[in-house]
Symmetry: C2
Subunit: 216 residues, 2 copies
């Protein structure tokens, strides 16, 4: 069984935020950043920051903090963001278009090389420079481009069928933006992006603020 539980999931989720802040610090000319400053910026406990960053193999120096350049390299290497990952996008609707235009991905080595759709009006066009092909040509493109990752942004009703098509074409990992829990074999990696999970957090914060106001 290849699929394994990833330890320290919340820590890994926070790494891009650390990277963002540390890169900003570097662009401002600083060579060191203290864990306390990072903690303040992200509204976390300093001990949490130290634990999170330790998984990348870097520890801070007393009184100086973390060496900025080495920390960036360590996080990028840990995440594999120091190499380019070519990916395809399946479903060139609004969300798909938003992702092709998402500037941030270029800093993470993520390169969307082709998009696929069933809409003949879209096929042959380009979205943010990414060519849109017919879904019928998926398998041949995946083979030709030697792609192993796909971003899935189709309507929920099409999600499982498209996932099957992707796996048959040789895709090994799927970033799933649909609300469907895909049924795929255990050796396929799926990361589902659930937009409603952040909304749940926002709602709980809104509710507790409301209650705090009522109690005042």
């Amino acid at each position: 069984m290849i699929r394994q539980k990833i330890p320290a999931t919340p820590s890994i989720r926070r790494l891009p935020q650390y990277l963002h802040i540390i890169r900003q610090t570097q662009s401002e000319g600083y060579e060191y950043i203290s864990g306390t400053v990072i903690a303040q910026e992200l509204n976390l406990e300093p001990i949490q920051v130290r634990k999170d960053l330790a998984i990348t193999g870097i520890t801070g120096k007393p009184k100086k903090g973390y060496p900025v350049a080495a920390l960036i390299t360590a996080i990028e290497h840990f995440l594999g963001w120091d190499v380019v990952t070519n990916t395809i996008l399946v479903g060139a609707g609004n969300l798909g278009a938003a992702l092709t235009g998402y500037q941030e991905f270029q800093y993470h080595g993520l390169h969307i090389v082709a998009a696929f759709d069933v809409d003949t009006a879209k096929i042959g066009s380009r979205i943010h420079g990414v060519p849109v092909f017919s879904i019928e040509t998926l398998a041949s493109h995946v083979k030709k481009l030697d792609i192993s990752m796909a971003i899935l942004t189709v309507p929920s009703s099409e999600a499982q069928r498209m996932a099957n098509m992707l796996v048959d074409a040789g895709i090994r990992s799927i970033w799933n933006f649909t609300n469907v829990k895909l049924k795929v074999s255990e050796n396929i990696i799926v990361q589902r992006e659930d937009l409603t999970s952040g909304y749940a957090l926002l709602c709980v914060m809104m509710n507790s603020t409301r209650e705090a106001r009522i109690k005042e």
Copy 2:
């Protein structure tokens, strides 16, 4: 100080996934669902499921599991999804358009009532039925519609300026889809949606699978 740390953040983040599965179970005619089944579906430990669901005030019955209808009500009530939250969307680009068309929100009481943009080509049009107004009319609409929440989907370079405008107009909570850490006063709730955090997880899974394959 109103802003507070929300305990059990990962648990709250998982509640929408529970809700999705439990609703599906209900639609299939079941009255009870076992914590073990939920755990299997979500690839979690059963103890974790019990802990997560306990925050909504519901506990399972031995051998029967959780009463489906009561559990749905409890989760929805805990999240405040049993009442309608009207919100506005600022930035009617691709991501904004994707969110207005996101079917799932209707199950969570989230109702996007108006969108705002600077693009005169979009002003006066409708996106998935949501009218697009000029950003100049933001304050008057927020007041008239009695809105306290906004979804921010503008380019990063505009994010802070728009956030200031929203707060001045009376908005109390912002669902921030930009990569900017907004500087707002402590009584404003901000939930930032970081698309790259899920990608970080996916990358770590891809890397560990790759290493597992090399070791084989």
